[in-house]
Symmetry: C2
Subunit: 365 residues, 2 copies
């Protein structure tokens, strides 16, 4: 059991700290497992609640966000909950209006089109006030979890949030935001720093509110390639982990383990190993053994192809077995290589979770 922190003392005692130990590289008797987007549309109870409330209404209403967060925990033997939220709340806090467009996802009607638009951002936002709904949701959920499993907090990475801000939504090529990196170098760094300066207190406040691990999602890292990643993403990812941990220490709070998930950044594993994060998340295109070979300092998280969730029980179980044999059972958190898709059968997540537990326990015997 991890040593209790100042924050932990205010909450029910943690009964399952597997994921925290795995993240810290400590011995685990079985492999902890969770799934990105485990609280999501693939669950009928999520769709039911979502039919009544719009997406950001749920995010901004702590009892609703708590309820959604707990839904998969009630169904499956997951080893962690992750607070229901969206990475774009940072942009909203900076003053960007964000609307959920059906079939298209979150969209900024007024994207940051040119460097001058950065002036529109409320750089001096009081994060603790502006995003208090997230912290309230975390505190409530931590209470409601009753120590069953740890609660993960998260944020989008600066590059990913910058890309969304400029594109206005998703994109195939991210050419508008990459154009900034090539032609507005200084403004790009300014923007990334503005985002970083909001992300750091956001994550610190999440821990103060009760988050027991933190994950930073660099969902659009893959479009960058190594040179751009090392110039425009990695320095800010490092700044975040350093400043968040320093800030927690300065408040006499034991730093929580931090996970970085730079999707499709196959080219950057060595750099991520040296980034200061405790855990590196992997997408499914990365071979576990190759990742292990260059990431001795960190624990790994991942990375089953999410579409394997379409498999029947036997096939899915044998894929889990293969994944575990490739990663081994230590310094490892089982997960998918990306989030749950809306049409996945809920039973597949049950199969996945139970297979990770049963097979890894046997491997550890």
């Amino acid at each position: 059991m991890a040593a209790p922190t100042k924050v932990n003392l205010e909450f029910p005692k943690l009964k399952n700290d597997l994921i925290i130990r795995a993240a810290r590289g400590e011995k685990t008797e079985r492999v902890p497992v969770w799934a990105m987007r485990q609280a999501g549309r693939y669950l009928p109870e999520f769709r039911e609640l979502r039919a009544e409330h719009n997406f950001f209404k749920i995010v901004q209403t702590p009892p609703l966000a708590c309820e959604i967060t707990l839904q998969p925990i009630r169904r499956f033997q997951l080893d962690a909950a992750i607070i229901f939220c969206d990475i774009l709340v940072i942009n909203q806090a900076l003053g960007m209006e964000c609307v959920m467009v059906p079939g298209k996802g979150p969209t900024f009607p007024q994207p940051i089109a040119k460097p001058e638009d950065l002036k529109r951002l409320d750089k001096d936002v009081n994060v603790r006030d502006k995003l208090s709904y997230v912290f309230s949701a975390i505190t409530l959920t931590r209470q409601e979890l009753k120590g069953q499993v740890p609660l993960i907090g998260f944020a989008g990475a600066p590059w990913t949030l910058m890309a969304y801000s400029i594109e206005g939504g998703g994109s195939k090529t991210y050419s508008k935001s990459k154009k900034w990196l090539y032609t507005h170098v200084e403004a790009s760094h300014q923007f990334l720093q503005i985002l970083t300066d909001v992300i750091v207190p956001y994550l610190v406040c999440q821990v103060e509110a009760g988050a027991q691990l933190l994950q930073v999602f660099d969902s659009h890292a893959g479009i960058l390639g190594k040179d751009l990643f090392c110039t425009f993403s990695l320095p800010y990812l490092k700044q975040i982990v350093t400043r968040v941990k320093d800030s927690l220490r300065s408040k006499s709070i034991k730093p929580v383990p931090m996970i970085v998930f730079a999707k499709d950044a196959h080219y950057g594993l060595e750099e991520l190993n040296n980034s200061g994060y405790d855990v590196v998340g992997l997408d499914w295109t990365i071979q576990p053994q190759q990742a292990r070979a260059v990431t001795s300092k960190v624990s790994l998280q991942g990375n089953l192809d999410p579409c394997a969730m379409y498999c029947n029980k036997d096939d899915l179980t044998s894929k889990v077995k293969q994944m575990l044999s490739q990663f081994g059972t230590q310094k490892y958190i089982a997960n998918l290589g990306h989030g749950m898709y809306p049409d996945f059968p809920p039973e597949s997540l049950e199969t996945f979770v139970n297979a990770v537990h049963e097979i890894s326990e046997k491997m550890n015997e």
Copy 2:
């Protein structure tokens, strides 16, 4: 100069065979260069012609396809032309209706939703007749090129065409088509074989019509990951190169060099090195030296980040210099890591092409 083939004899003598020699691993005095989508919307003369005719009308009208193919050749010192066409003509030949939806790209109103839908495909299509417009366009263009540079023919890879057919268009996750790979294994192989059996004669006919190199685009390889790629893409890519070359030999035509471009398949470079293709194309996320280390059998093509085309002349030139120093000047065809985007300045392609020539010539001195 490469030995003339039966086909070459019917056409104007080739004056620049740099790309053919580079593809075959023969010595080149300077690095040949072309750009994927070099005939495209970034050119005002393309947009002008495109405003008058719909996309597939141009593809199906040899003088128009020829004109579009020649447009970038008139402007830039490119070392190859690539016939203007679309990878989805294979699906059209199989009987699938395809429409160009503005802002969305080519779309199949009636996708292949379930295995039974494969019955709708016209497996016994006479490729030579059905796609005669492509072959006529190639022959005309080869004549009009007057031997200035070689003409590249191309096809989509079976997996990429299968993915498009099932999704009905583009997709973020390609989860519908990947679901087939996990749940309709036999039907997936059937579909891939149907596509392969059309692609092979399609490519052979392109060479007979005058194509001097061939490229196979596996644009959606990256979504697969290694296991699925090795099961559902690679075997068909290999079948294509083997059967096309055998078929050409059986017709006493010297096989042309073949390029495989499996975009984002960073996990499969060793397999592609052993696939039988002469050249492996690389996207921009792959480090040139790492690719060289595992691809001793093939020449490499690529791989500047396309968005570097937004750079000013000096920055772009120094990026070309870096690329050339990483790849070296031999067994190498310079290209972008993906196609030209519609908003690229045409002058950037000029800078790119001239920089490749000038810098590589100096390196070879």
